[in-house]
Symmetry: C2
Subunit: 331 residues, 2 copies
């Protein structure tokens, strides 16, 4: 960060540098990915779309609702903002090509926060070889982040939520439950009393980007990014595919460190895994005959939709899960 630190004083705020100064400062320090044909600074960016189609997803992250500046640094929030959108692209079986980022922030926000945020975005993007190709900045009472991720399907069909068939296997890749554990620790102000990894994952998830492509190539019939909680997100697949899904609780890999943290906090580790959001694992359905790629764990089965519409779409060991399934941002 030494070259970034050089051109502003430590306590300079966004109001001091002005809108265009901020955009320039941030984009100036970002290397552009190979897919970016025209980067920040014009009316629009131009990105490669070699497939002749483009995959596109957008998400909002709001201070106080999706992150807290006293819990996470600008850098961690930048990583998280990029990660959750790149995970959406991976969940279609596509390779990300770039991000567009809108940042609304108070005029009194230190420029250094925005610079750290930009570095977090850039570092997360670098994991998949892309960059922030454009954006917008404006003033607001609190920090609001809008991220759009673009991606390329490389000639494959997109893996949607609607393709699961009865008899398919349900599998997960990536981590589940860590972010919920981290949230619990941060809420209690007890970060030191649980696994450091849990707090770190709550601040910045680590989606299994490469597994989206692996799943698509292995013939996955449906896939989703687990952002609202596994039960809630599998519910989307079940509804869109008009099937049921039954999960086998004993099939979930449960890290001992996470189980130990749950015991200490008097929480149910399986509840974290089944309903905790924001880990950005991937969940996919595979034909019974598929070779499941390495890194995926089979945790359930796709069933025919029950004729009784009062029964839940997604069950755990054949029964309704007791309690909330996930997070509804307007509920």
């Amino acid at each position: 960060m030494s070259e970034l630190a050089a051109d502003t004083s430590a306590d300079e705020t966004l109001s001091d540098v002005g809108e265009f100064g901020l955009i320039d400062r941030i984009s100036r320090h970002m290397a552009q990915g190979a897919a970016v044909l025209l980067g920040p600074g014009d009316d629009a960016a131009v990105l490669a779309a070699p497939d002749g189609r483009v995959v596109a997803s957008t998400d909002l992250l709001l201070e106080g609702r999706h992150f807290r500046t006293d819990w996470s640094t600008g850098y961690q929030i930048g990583r998280k903002a990029a990660a959750q959108n790149l995970a959406d692209i991976a969940a279609m079986g596509a390779a990300p090509t770039g991000l567009l980022v809108g940042l609304a922030a108070p005029g009194g926000l230190p420029v250094d926060w925005a610079r750290q945020f930009a570095r977090g975005l850039a570092d997360e993007c670098a994991l998949v070889g892309v960059s922030v190709a454009g954006g917008d900045t404006t003033r607001a009472a609190s920090i609001m982040i809008a991220v759009t991720a673009l991606g390329d399907l490389g000639g494959r069909a997109p893996v949607t939520r609607a393709g699961a068939h009865p008899g398919d296997m349900v599998a997960i890749a990536g981590e589940l439950g860590w972010s919920a554990c981290g949230y619990e620790l941060l809420s209690r102000g007890a970060q030191g009393e649980g696994p450091r990894k849990a707090v770190a994952r709550h601040r910045s998830p680590e989606p299994p980007y490469a597994q989206g492509l692996s799943a698509a190539m292995a013939g996955a019939t449906a896939m989703i990014d687990v952002s609202d909680g596994l039960l809630a997100d599998l519910g989307h697949i079940a509804r869109e595919s008009d099937v049921g899904i039954d999960l086998e609780p004993g099939a979930f890999p449960i890290p001992e460190e996470l189980a130990e943290a749950a015991r200490r906090l008097d929480k149910d580790v399986l509840r974290w895994i089944l309903t905790g959001g924001e880990d950005h694992a991937l969940a996919a359905c595979y034909p019974a005959v598929a070779d499941i790629p390495q890194g995926w764990s089979v945790v359930g089965t796709v069933l025919k939709r029950s004729a009784d519409s009062s029964e839940p779409r997604v069950t755990v060991a054949g029964a309704a899960w007791d309690g909330p399934q996930g997070w509804d941002h307007f509920a």
Copy 2:
């Protein structure tokens, strides 16, 4: 709107329907454009990008800063949000292919506002044959809108801000000054005392979408969407192209209705035209030999950059313009 009115009561709020209900209700009523291969409801949308490249631009619109709900209806704000982003795509010489829209809003917002907003987005999109292909909704203390527009270059080079050469002509297409007049009227609570068109344009601009493509085909060397004010936006072209620009005030088409409104309000109509933002006209530079397409007015000339760096990039009748050039969102 009769089929939309049927499925909710008039006073239902976003909290009543929940996040997923809102997204479903809005997307259900939107016809998708030809470029949308996979629309709302999955982790990401899939749009056609026949050129093998995609043009992408993102903008934030915040309640109280970019619009006021007591000045504009949800429908008008939807039209404006779509228009300013579609204009960015046009300003690259590209044809829009679709929008992604993030909406953060208070839980107490009437569902009907969101539905009107969606209809405004859809109607503006329909002007260029596209649709809202995806989005995100979340709760916030005030309304925040994030729009990303995508477009296709149809095999042409993008028309950037960096291609202007000394000797080029500077031309404008679309309207200038009307939004500033409308802002003045609304600020004074005197909407009835000026042209209705001015208030209408402030609420929802009418960018000359087709002129972006016309300019690109006629060989425009540089182009920009006029969102911050003509002088400020031509300043971007001048800086990126490393040239100067001189405007001829007598060359601007000045509608008599606008001039009359300025006289009544004791305002300078030329100031509205040169510095008023948000009309989303297009400004472009053309080689001296170009056939300027119909709908464009030549209003200035591209000059060599003055050796004296203290001189302004953009002048009016050879002199510095006195006063603010436009709008800086963090100033």
